[in-house]
């Protein structure tokens, strides 16, 4: 899918009607919008986002005011956004053109329509949102239409929604749905078997599994909802804190808070390690404590037997063997074969001490000593661990107090904006903590329910073995089982391959653009992405290199989603080929990396739309992007009132200066101007 054009009418800061065209030339695939802060770059990103999804990006403010204020004053109550796109994936034809139109008042959405455009005629597409999801699945929108100023809050730490989104982007949603449907087929077959055999136990087990199947999707939905909410709150929290850190009076306190939080995270990890050691010590010492008395009695018995000369036995097996071989006892008497003497001496072999017996007795002694030692050392060991944990608790407590003081100091600063931001931070922190607790509870519930279902499955299989199941049903059950097993294994293999390709491509990007030799590692279980330095240590995601990793990751994932057609991974769904639309892509980046990230984005995408401020438009970015730029617009901010002392901001481009703001307008608005 490629964006062809966009029309805005009375949307946010854009008064009246505005039409812009995107570059969709495969070579010159980049369209750039240059505008200052507040000119409407984020409004433009959200116009596209909203038109496709009916939703906005998390940072978009005042969502309830969509209609331009001047338009409202003039009596117009409705705004709309219209996008024309080209779908190149349709079978049997080269491409198809669609028009999406979404309109709203400030109170509600008033319309959403999708039209197919053929020879200048538009026909309405029924179930238009479904068609849009085919171009860009709902779960993937956040990857393709991205508010890059919020890149700091992009979580690569492997939450369940992140894993699911990435799986969808890579195309595993189809095989996941197939497996879920096959599980439903299998359940249906099990129900048929229970009904056919009419066995009371089997029916009971099946009915309990059915209850679980009814309850589980709700729990999973709740877990995902909580996980998404935590991500949203974390993103907003990060932004509020970034805002706080920008205020000179708040900056040192916020910095201090971050470093205290990092220390606390270290202490928490340490405490967790000691808790693990405590559990291990208790686990080892508990049986020792229990066995200590028995072992003491056993040791006493061994000693007593030793004193009596019975352990080890006073004669060895070798001595008995020699007597029998020489037919002569050590007292000088003859021991002839078949005599009573020979029989009695042969019987002694049963009690003779052997090397093996000696080893065993020694092993018992060592074991009893170990048990004694564990039992004896346990109180000291556990006491030492507990005292270390208590010391960590004190360290955490003192830092918690310091955090409270920082909050008070921030609230005490005589600046309304800082007070407001700090207040919001506290609210968000509290909301996140509360949802994290609910999330933990739901996850625990899911684990329990799944374990119960696994138990019931085992019981079902055991029960069914003793019943006479109809041969046809039995065969159908087995067919489904074999298919599930085969497809699960094949999908796992494909997943391994896809993650491997993703990892190779991501690292090849990092190799080219990072000045340090860092590697990215993807955890196959959670999909968490971690940057590792030359010494194998983890590099924080908030560092300059961490930010580059995030951009590289987004671009690589978007490219991978499209590349699936070339890779011919048959197990995956239809590839998602869509433009990457980024607002403020370079503002959050270390200037050292801006040029390389720009080049990578242009290289990795099929169509790229960027909204950039003049501050982020440096020489390196210009050099990287210029060969790919097909269309370029200025978003000029017109302000009401006289200029006075206010500055005129300019964009320096190809030896020319372009004005990005004007004064003395009848009303504030933003307008587009195409430049070559």
């Amino acid at each position: 899918m490629k964006l062809i054009s966009l029309e805005l009418s009375d949307f946010r800061c854009f008064l009246g009607s505005h039409r812009i065209e995107f570059s969709h030339d495969p070579e010159r695939r980049v369209t750039i919008f240059h505008g200052e802060n507040g000119a409407g770059k984020t409004n433009l990103l959200n116009a596209i986002h909203w038109c496709f999804t009916g939703k906005f990006t998390p940072r978009f403010q005042d969502k309830q005011i969509l209609v331009n204020k001047e338009a409202s004053r003039q009596g117009r109550r409705e705004c709309f956004v219209e996008i024309v796109l080209q779908d190149e994936s349709e079978r049997g034809s080269s491409s198809a053109i669609y028009r999406i139109r979404r309109s709203a008042t400030n109170d509600r959405e008033t319309g959403f329509e999708v039209f197919r455009v053929e020879k200048g005629n538009s026909t309405v597409v029924p179930a238009g949102q479904g068609l849009i999801h085919r171009f860009l699945p709902a779960g993937l929108v956040s990857w393709f239409f991205f508010d890059a100023e919020a890149i700091g809050s992009l979580e690569l730490s492997g939450s369940e929604p992140f894993r699911q989104d990435l799986r969808k982007t890579l195309g595993f949603d189809l095989v996941d749905t197939l497996l879920a449907d096959l599980e439903a087929v299998y359940t249906k077959r099990r129900q048929e078997v229970a009904s056919q055999t009419n066995d009371k136990d089997l029916k009971e087990i099946q009915s309990r599994m059915d209850d679980i199947d009814r309850a589980l999707p709700g729990l999973i939905e709740e877990r995902d909802k909580h996980e998404r909410k935590v991500s949203e709150l974390s993103a907003e929290l990060e932004l509020v804190r970034a805002e706080l850190a920008k205020k000179p009076k708040a900056e040192p306190l916020e910095k201090n808070r971050r470093s205290i939080e990092a220390e606390m995270a270290g202490f928490s990890r340490e405490k967790l390690e000691y808790a693990r050691r405590a559990a291990e010590t208790v686990g080892r010492a508990a049986p020792a404590t229990f066995l200590q008395t028995l072992v003491a009695r056993l040791a006493g018995k061994l000693d007593e037997q030793e004193v009596r000369g019975r352990l080890p036995s006073p004669f060895s097996d070798q001595l008995v063997d020699d007597i029998l071989k020489d037919h002569k006892c050590i007292c000088g008497r003859d021991v002839n074969e078949g005599t009573e003497e020979e029989k009695r001496i042969r019987d002694l072999l049963k009690f003779a001490s052997t090397g093996e017996l000696n080893r065993r007795i020694n092993a018992v002694r060592y074991l009893s000593k170990d048990v004694e030692r564990f039992g004896r050392e346990f109180p000291a060991d556990i006491q030492s661990i507990r005292s270390k944990m208590a010391s960590i608790d004190r360290s955490i407590g003192s830092r918690e107090d310091r955090l409270k003081e920082i909050t008070q100091e921030l609230q005490g600063i005589d600046q309304d904006e800082i007070k407001k931001l700090e207040h919001r931070r506290i609210e968000l922190e509290a909301a996140r903590t509360s949802i994290l607790m609910s999330l933990g509870a739901v996850k625990h519930q899911i684990e329990n329910v799944e374990a119960r279902k696994a138990d019931l499955k085992v019981r079902y299989d055991l029960t069914v073995k003793r019943l006479a199941v109809n041969a046809r049903l039995n065969k159908e059950m087995k067919k489904v089982q074999r298919l599930i097993a085969y497809i699960t294994a094949a999908a796992k293999e494909q997943e391994k391959r896809a993650l491997n390709v993703l990892s190779i491509e991501l690292n090849s990007v990092l190799d080219r653009y990072l000045t340090k030799h860092y590697r990215a590692k993807i955890d196959p279980a959670t999909y968490a992405v971690q940057l590792i330095d030359e010494d194998g240590k983890k590099v924080g995601h908030s560092t300059g290199e961490g930010q580059v990793l995030k951009f590289a990751f987004i671009a690589t994932v978007v490219a991978m989603a499209a590349k699936k057609t070339q890779e011919k991974i048959e197990w995956l769904s239809v590839p998602t080929v869509a433009p990457l639309v980024l607002d403020a892509p370079f503002s959050a980046l270390d200037p050292v990396y801006q040029g390389s990230v720009a080049k990578n984005l242009a290289n990795q995408t099929t169509q790229l739309v960027l909204m950039i401020s003049s501050a982020a438009w440096g020489e390196s970015v210009e050099e990287a992007l210029e060969p790919f730029v097909g269309k370029r617009y200025l978003i000029v901010s017109k302000e009401a009132g006289a200029r006075g002392q206010k500055p005129i901001k300019t964009l320096h481009l190809k030896g020319r200066d372009y004005e990005l703001n004007q004064y003395g307008a009848a009303h504030p608005e933003s307008v587009f101007g195409e430049i070559a």
């Binding site: 597409v125 029924p126 179930a127 479904g130 068609l131 849009i132 999801h133 085919r134 699945p137 189809l174 095989v175 749905t177 197939l178 449907d181 096959l182 439903a184 087929v185 249906k188 159908e476 067919k479 489904v480 074999r482 298919l483 085969y486 497809i487 094949a490 391959r497 390709v501 190779i504 491509e505 090849s508 990007v509 080219r512 590349k563 070339q566 890779e567 048959e570 197990w571 769904s573 239809v574 290289n603 990795q604």
Partner: protein
């Protein structure tokens, strides 16, 4: 895409294909059959779940049951 990246990607692709072919050469008849049926199933699922279609899960399950019943394996 720069030359080194594209050559790496094509190298990966050809290695992948080679490994695939080698792997498939040693497949049993059962594996070949399951692979073919699984692919057909995947195509069926793809058709049943196209975003502009409104086919319920129970209808999809019924279609899958019908499909599997017809296959003898």
């Amino acid at each position: 895409m720069p030359a080194n990246n594209s050559s790496l990607a094509s190298l990966m692709k050809s290695i992948g294909e080679e490994v695939d072919e080698e792997g498939k050469a040693g497949w049993t008849e059962e594996q070949r059959l399951l692979e073919a049926i699984s692919k057909e199933l995947l195509h069926l699922e793809r058709d049943l779940t196209l975003p502009d279609r409104t086919i319920s899960k129970s209808a999809r399950v019924a279609r899958l049951i019908e499909f599997i019943e017809k296959k003898d394996f």
